[in-house]
Symmetry: C2
Subunit: 388 residues, 2 copies
């Protein structure tokens, strides 16, 4: 199998984008990535697009074909494939794009992710998102994602002594990072008190422990490393791309303070890349709720199981910490257009490894990691990237 | 890239299966395919599952993870990926599975397709299916799939002299074949008069010109040819696997009496397989409406453009004809659980090439083809298989 590189990135602003349609978001992210890579439309051999519930958010399935039409490349008749794995749809699109290029099947592949979530009324978005859990055995009985992650938080607090203040510190850190990211949905600082004083959504999670409902799209251009130099000098190599799955239902999971699929994906990714957790300079992890980031940094081996809250409190994951996490603002502050998130994470890490992250730049970052999760851990995707 | 074979197949009965849930359908098809291949669950490296609108039909996204849990293989933490391309979701799942094995990324891959369409009320299924067309520019203004294919039929009748009777003959043939298939939704013969006397759905298409709303699932096991013999002697090689796309919207298409994506996919598939249309012994094509089969046999090069109606009338595509088409009964009589269809087509061709098709066996069939279409032609997937 061939070595694969990211040679271009692009994304829209994230937020409540009332003035932009799904197809406009797809077009904007895709065009930016194509321009960034210096390729022509005719160079593209295939497209993969992640979308979680386009059928319910905008009444549109078959968004692979839509993406091809939006790109104006219909006469090429190249394959354009939608993949779906709930909030890991973008990460899975990256993994399928990686396989397609590594295999030799295709050379230049566009990977995209998009979701337009604000076109449905109030609580309907939470109901749609609950279709990422087990509909028959969880959602029907009232379980929502804030509820499922609240169970993880309670378990973590009980067994490991994690505090509400430590959870809040994840949000405070990510809002600080978001304030430095012009594309983030929330660009204002918040305090621990703000989080603890915000309304309870599902105890112990407050409103400011939760990622928001967001519109947005992101794209990345993949190419074999040996062809990449034809187009650009800004080559970021994909050292590892691993997708792992687990039970759909949270209640069937073997443990509640960890996502075994993420642990498995991380372990395989480190092996594939030949690196250790301590080699990672910067990481984007799936902080759909504050507890999710604490569990993620443990599952990824940055800290021991149970020490994630304490490590956050001590600044390990801050922008100037030992391993900066969610420099983009994460899902919490940058926003979480579910199908786009996995590809947006790749955008941030590529910017960091190119040294283009401006005020949130991690100095000397050469190896970065992304961690994208679907549902309560039914799917996890880990990528490790390196500047070469 | 490695040569890939289908080493196992399985499918449920197709029909209005009130007593079976989506997950039961997935389990049944998967287990049958695993038993057929003679593999163990632990041998499986990855899964791909096609589903068109599970979010709207059953309120469940993230069905890759669901399939892994249903299979009881969560402890393997293998990747299980849903792909979606409207009614071509099953064909696209096959193509992604093919790439995954051919690449060397994975050895044993389970490909599945499933849809549970009868759990929604009456007209809602047609509305959900319309999400495979362009929601903003077609469906919002009242276009349904019977309407879009009726436009193709009108165009074909006007320009090529195709008659309503010839359209009806497609349904008559496919119902005859369906009467020989114990898994078909409709197992009774119908006459040309039955079709012409059935209610108009979208002129000139009558009810019996249309494929039905169906529940069902199908699966296939893929492996590299050189590993396949470890498990089975019944090896069917995939000589070609090609996915092509086009505009989502029908009105943007370059012509109305052909699906350019299907023409493109077929051309590339013939090249990849090193065969001509006249080498194909048996084919399953995407007859979502009778006109679709006529256009398909032209697009695949079995007959010249415009001659599909006449060829059907003359028996070219009958079970005892020169190139038997839709021996399973096709989408029309076997049924059309949209996400499953592409994989069900593979099931039929594998049975034919193994000589296991019983009363509908095409004698001496060694090369078979499948043609799976999404929407009004936004996606097309062509596979060519050969008994070795």
């Amino acid at each position: 199998m061939r070595e694969v590189a990211v040679i271009g990135i692009g994304m829209t602003e994230f937020g409540e984008l009332w003035q932009k349609s799904f197809r406009e978001l797809v077009a904007e992210a895709g065009v930016k990535a194509i321009l960034d890579a210096g390729i022509e439309g005719e160079d593209i051999d295939a497209m993969y697009i992640g979308g979680m519930s386009t059928g319910r958010f905008i009444g549109q399935e078959h968004v692979g074909s839509l993406a091809l039409e939006v790109a104006g490349l219909e006469d090429l008749h190249i394959p354009a494939t939608r993949v779906e794995a709930a909030c890991a749809s973008g990460g899975v699109a990256m993994h399928q794009g990686y396989i397609a290029v590594a295999s030799g099947m295709y050379d230049i592949v566009v990977v995209g992710g998009a979701e337009k979530m604000t076109d449905v009324v109030g609580g309907e978005a939470t109901n749609i998102l609950a279709s990422a859990a087990d509909r028959e055995w969880e959602s029907f009985f009232g379980a929502t994602f804030p509820g499922l992650y609240a169970l993880m938080a309670r378990y973590h607090m009980h067994h490991h002594g994690t505090t509400q203040e430590q959870l809040a510190m994840v949000a405070v850190k990510n809002h600080h990072n978001g304030s430095l990211n012009p594309k983030a949905q929330f660009r204002r600082e918040i305090s621990v008190e703000d989080v603890l004083n915000s309304p309870i959504v599902a105890e112990p999670l407050h409103l400011l422990d939760c990622s928001p409902i967001t519109d947005g799209a992101a794209a990345a251009i993949l190419a074999p490393v040996d062809i990449a130099r034809k187009y650009t000098d800004k080559i970021i190599k994909i050292k590892a791309s691993v997708q792992a799955c687990d039970t759909l239902s949270f209640h069937s999971r073997s443990r509640f303070d960890s996502l075994p699929a993420a642990v498995h994906a991380a372990k395989k990714a480190y092996e594939m890349a030949g690196v250790k957790p301590s080699d990672i300079d910067v990481a984007e992890v799936h902080d759909c709720f504050t507890i999710a980031e604490i569990i993620a940094i443990e599952d990824l081996g940055f800290v021991e199981k149970g020490k994630g809250g304490k490590a956050t409190e001590e600044g390990l994951t801050a922008l100037d910490g030992q391993i900066p996490v969610n420099t983009s603002g994460g899902l919490k502050a940058k926003g979480h257009p579910v199908g786009a998130t996995g590809v947006a994470q790749i955008n941030e890490i590529v910017m960091q490894l190119r040294g283009e992250a401006d005020k949130r730049q991690v100095k000397g970052a050469t190896i970065g990691l992304t961690h994208n999760v679907g549902g309560s851990g039914g799917t996890a995707v880990v990528h490790i990237l390196e500047a070469i």
